[in-house]
């Protein structure tokens, strides 16, 4: 699931080498923290957050497929 999110984000951005996805296990599920180059933030968030929400929707489906429980995808702006 982390691999899939990383794949999607790298495919969306202009600077794939700057993409970092860290996985944090919490009691109620997994948090995937996504970091990208500043100029790529718009590409992974999208107007009204549509792209970020699409990534979340696909991640949830992948979590269901692997029985991975709840997954939250957060785009981190440092």
């Amino acid at each position: 699931m982390r691999d899939l999110v990383e794949f999607l984000v790298r495919a969306l951005v202009a600077e794939p080498d700057a993409v970092r996805v860290s996985e944090i296990d919490e009691d109620d599920g997994t948090v995937l923290e996504v970091r990208v180059a500043d100029e790529d933030l718009g590409r992974v968030i999208g107007r009204d957050g549509r792209v970020a929400n699409a990534i979340r929707t696909i991640a949830k489906a992948a979590a269901t497929a692997t029985d991975g429980g709840r997954v939250m995808v957060e785009i981190v702006e440092d």
Partner: protein
């Protein structure tokens, strides 16, 4: 992983869908066809419910990401559609039936009928379907993703 996405939009769509099909553990085949004004991709296989999602929200998310990835950094954009096991056509027929029933009820009762929340594409199917019916108007209300079509009898219609 993902180090080399193809340069061509259709190739990018195919690579993306292959990866998603794998991640969702689906036994399915990806077919991508490009015509003048559209890249049409479809996933063929059994048990694709997980890829489609509730009210198609997962397949719509996949379609949006495919479009963004296909034409990132390019100016020559065209439509990208992603279908799974004939879902789009089945859904179109379902939405048209709902539109017809709502129109009948609106005319019978003289009251506004609110359809279930739909995507922009689905709402357009309703508007188009009922455009020719007299005595009615259709419009959309609410915020995405709960935005829905209202079928309203025209006063004096």
């Amino acid at each position: 992983m993902n180090e080399r996405l193809p340069d061509e939009p259709a190739g990018r769509v195919e690579a993306l869908l292959d990866e998603i099909v794998d991640a969702l553990d689906l036994d399915a085949e990806v077919v991508v066809e490009e015509v003048e004004d559209e890249i049409a991709a479809r996933v063929e296989g059994h048990d694709l419910g997980l890829l489609i999602g509730r009210r198609g929200q997962t397949i719509d998310a996949v379609q949006l990401i495919c479009y963004r990835v296909a034409f990132r950094g390019r100016g020559d954009r065209k439509r990208v559609s992603v279908d799974a096991a004939g879902y789009r056509e089945r859904r179109r027929q379902t939405v048209e039936r709902q539109a017809d029933r709502a129109a009948d009820r609106a005319l019978e009762t003289g009251k506004e009928i609110e359809l279930e929340p739909m995507s922009p594409t689905e709402r357009k199917i309703v508007h188009d379907r009922l455009a020719e019916r007299s005595g009615l108007e259709t419009f959309s209300e609410g915020e995405e993703p709960e935005r829905c079509v209202i079928v309203a009898p025209l006063v004096g219609g």
